[in-house]
Symmetry: C2
């Protein structure tokens, strides 16, 4: 048995939080998850959302896109893909594929004596909606 593994009880709210993150493509913030669930879970606490998101991120159930405009953005889609961030409205949009040469990453890692666990590509620019005036 692994001494680092922690027993985890079932939690209705934790399930709801995971479901909420997985239900959207908007790459939500903790705040978004909180606001979304609050009507159905009136006694939900923001701390609970933060705590569980951190937990899910920690064990790889969800992933973080990074901090955009001061807020961490999460993603329930853990299959590797690329992200685009709109500098105007802050939207985070999925781009299919990795756009990167995996073999070259491996080579670079070896050359520089690094252990590479993951990588992400973040594109910046203006989204279609913001480009079209409205």
């Amino acid at each position: 048995m692994d001494s680092t593994e922690k027993k985890r009880n079932f939690s209705r709210k934790r399930e709801a939080i995971l479901k909420a993150v997985r239900s959207t493509k908007c790459h939500p913030t903790a705040e978004w998850v909180y606001r979304t669930l609050k009507p159905d879970y009136p006694d939900l606490s923001l701390g609970t959302v933060y705590r569980n998101l951190a937990q899910f991120k920690n064990d790889g159930t969800i992933v973080s896109v990074g901090t955009i405009n001061g807020q961490e953005r999460y993603d329930g889609n853990v299959t590797p893909h690329t992200h685009f961030v709109c500098s105007s409205c802050g939207a985070v949009i999925d781009i299919p594929g990795r756009l990167i040469d995996e073999a070259q990453v491996e080579k670079t890692a070896e050359e520089m004596h690094l252990r590479v666990d993951s990588w992400d590509v973040l594109m910046h620019g203006i989204c279609a909606k913001c480009l079209h005036g409205k």
Copy 2:
């Protein structure tokens, strides 16, 4: 003349801040710049560092690597390159090259009706120093 352009006076401290960012490969935080300059500029204020870094970033004089462990990391090297973040010690290390297929980015941008201004590749893992026990 462009009405958006603002007159800017010379400032000894602003020059020092830029020089400090350019002098290192550590991808410093505002705090690091402040601590580094403080001995030579005893009345330097942290707000001044933040204000000028934001300004430099804004007009492209320096660039931001993103927010790592809650702190924005800057880079005086504006030629496109890749970054590696050590999950253990937080070091940000330069990786030469872009590792990405520029033509494919262009194609994707057009297909999805996005205007892509820039992109960065961020690798995560364990750095050489942390891998070797110490």
